[in-house]
Symmetry: C2
Subunit: 330 residues, 2 copies
């Protein structure tokens, strides 16, 4: 029930995911049963989709921790509880990000060996995608947290993107190992000594060129970048529209170019990549943009399915277990 276009776009996305699934994927819609049955029962008929009742809703602008404490029957709380009791294996939400995070932490807890979960997001590059984390779960971080983000990001890229020995970069204000804040410089040392494929510092300009498969940063910087990206897309769209309104010839040109624009939009569209996984919790949770379309939800559901199938959390637990003593405490 969360998100700017709930429940319509959410249900449509779930329907698309269930329709396209060839791997036994089943979807549980968590929300007001009366509303869901009345409006969508014909749409979901015959598909592997169930409904779980949740009478309450956390609003997009509600204070997260208070909402999680107070609204035990909200759709996000009920969904997390379903995962805790293993009735579902993953939760996808487009609702209040803070509430989803707080609810996941309280209900599912952290994976052993992970001190700080992180939100990862996928940004497009000219020939693929870069995983950026953390983009908002941790405003301030310690060097060891950045190492954990690197390890989790590396395993995500390996098992979900299917990239062998993915490259990991540390976001800084210069390429040299001595560049950055004291935290970044210390994290550079930790990452260099770890078992992942660390390629050193990367800069802001490297994020979109795909210089590294995974870019690690604190949640403050990551959040600023993520939101800045949204701002750029609106600026470009507004500028293009304003320009086109000036002459009929430009409009004809735009018509002829529309396949190119469409392709470009698809390449740059983070919705293609299906939401932001919350890594490091003992469960699978994907947080989608509040304005997510059906396509974004569909892709998020499919990514969640892949995370479960690939047993990502088992890999994270195993790696944290085997290297924790060596990497974190050295």
């Amino acid at each position: 029930m969360g998100g700017d276009h709930a429940p319509e776009r959410i249900v449509e996305g779930a329907v698309e995911a269930a329709t396209m699934a060839r791997d036994g994927l089943e979807v549980v819609l968590v929300g007001d049963q009366g509303v869901l049955v009345e409006r969508f029962s014909s749409l979901i008929h015959g598909l592997p989709i169930e409904i779980a009742h949740a009478p309450e809703i956390v609003a997009m602008d509600e204070a997260p921790t208070a909402a999680v404490r107070r609204k035990r029957d909200s759709s996000v709380a009920v969904a997390m509880n379903l995962q805790r009791s293993r009735e579902v294996q993953a939760v996808v939400t487009a609702g209040n990000t803070g509430a989803a995070m707080a609810s996941a932490l309280v209900t599912l807890g952290r994976l052993p060996g992970v001190s700080r979960p992180a939100i990862a997001t996928v940004l497009p590059t000219s020939d693929g995608a870069t995983l950026l984390l953390d983009v908002g779960a941790n405003t301030e971080v310690q060097p060891a947290n950045l190492l954990e983000f690197g390890i989790m990001g590396s395993l995500y890229a390996e098992h979900v993107f299917q990239i062998e020995a993915p490259t990991i970069g540390l976001l800084s204000n210069g390429e040299e190992s001595g560049k950055g804040t004291d935290t970044i410089i210390a994290a550079h040392r930790l990452l260099s000594g770890s078992s992942i494929n660390f390629i050193g510092n990367v800069q802001g300009s490297d994020i979109l060129t795909g210089a590294a498969n995974v870019v690690v940063c604190d949640g403050f910087t990551g959040n600023v970048i993520l939101k800045f990206t949204e701002g750029i897309m609106s600026l470009l769209t507004a500028g293009l529209k304003r320009g086109l309104s000036r002459s009929p010839l430009s409009r004809l040109g735009a018509l002829l170019m529309s396949p190119v624009f469409h392709q470009l939009r698809t390449e740059l569209d983070y919705e293609e990549y299906g939401g932001a996984p919350l890594l490091g919790i003992d469960g699978v949770v994907i947080i989608c943009h509040g304005g997510s379309t059906a396509k974004a939800i569909r892709n998020a559901v499919r990514v969640a399915g892949r995370m479960v199938q690939e047993g990502l959390n088992e890999h994270i637990k195993e790696r944290m277990n085997s290297i924790h003593a060596r990497d974190i405490q050295s």
Copy 2:
């Protein structure tokens, strides 16, 4: 002599600035006299342009502090000395940023009351521009530094952009005053109690919408954003080119749309805004991108002229003087 296209683009930009000037602006080209006379004397003939000899050059990839210490006759060092001895009133450089900053600090020093100078950059918005600072001079900052950046940015916007009571925002990962790192939260308090027109926290998405005339941040975050912007422009250009190579109809469309693209490029082109002023030093220094075109240099020279004419540093000194005790030490 510094920059990727020196001395050609630099001299051309200086010539354009001197040609367009109606306000008694005079340009001194600082560099190898032999080279400059041989290649450009006919170009600068009859214009208010002189040459000052500087036999050495700091390379773009040279370690800044060592270069400044060792190369006393580099073009950047000679230019700063000319400003110190008041033979010129401003320096514009497209050379090694670190060397320009170190040289300015050593030769010109800080303005009284300013503890940390900052590099400001101008980013385009759909209906104007946003001044973002710091974008690289200070990797780590204290709350009082962010207040100083706010004050200097406010005076710059007022006197150079000619905006009355410009709005100042503090970059954070949420709009509420409690959002951000401890440093950001403390800076929010300082800025709220100051005499500038502080509108509170702004987010990454607000930078390009022009939500504030001036956005204040630490030099680490600012540097990442600045470089990320460059990455976006290359990604868009590459995507468009790739798309256009696919069909003749798209290429015809692009031809018809070219005035729109041109306009959009101009709006988004930070070169229009003429380099990044180094604020807080006892002098006027504008640092241009290494790849600056003649247009960028021309605009930087004109902005430098405006900074001198408007007496920006006098305003900064005065404000720092009158509010230092109240704002910084409270």
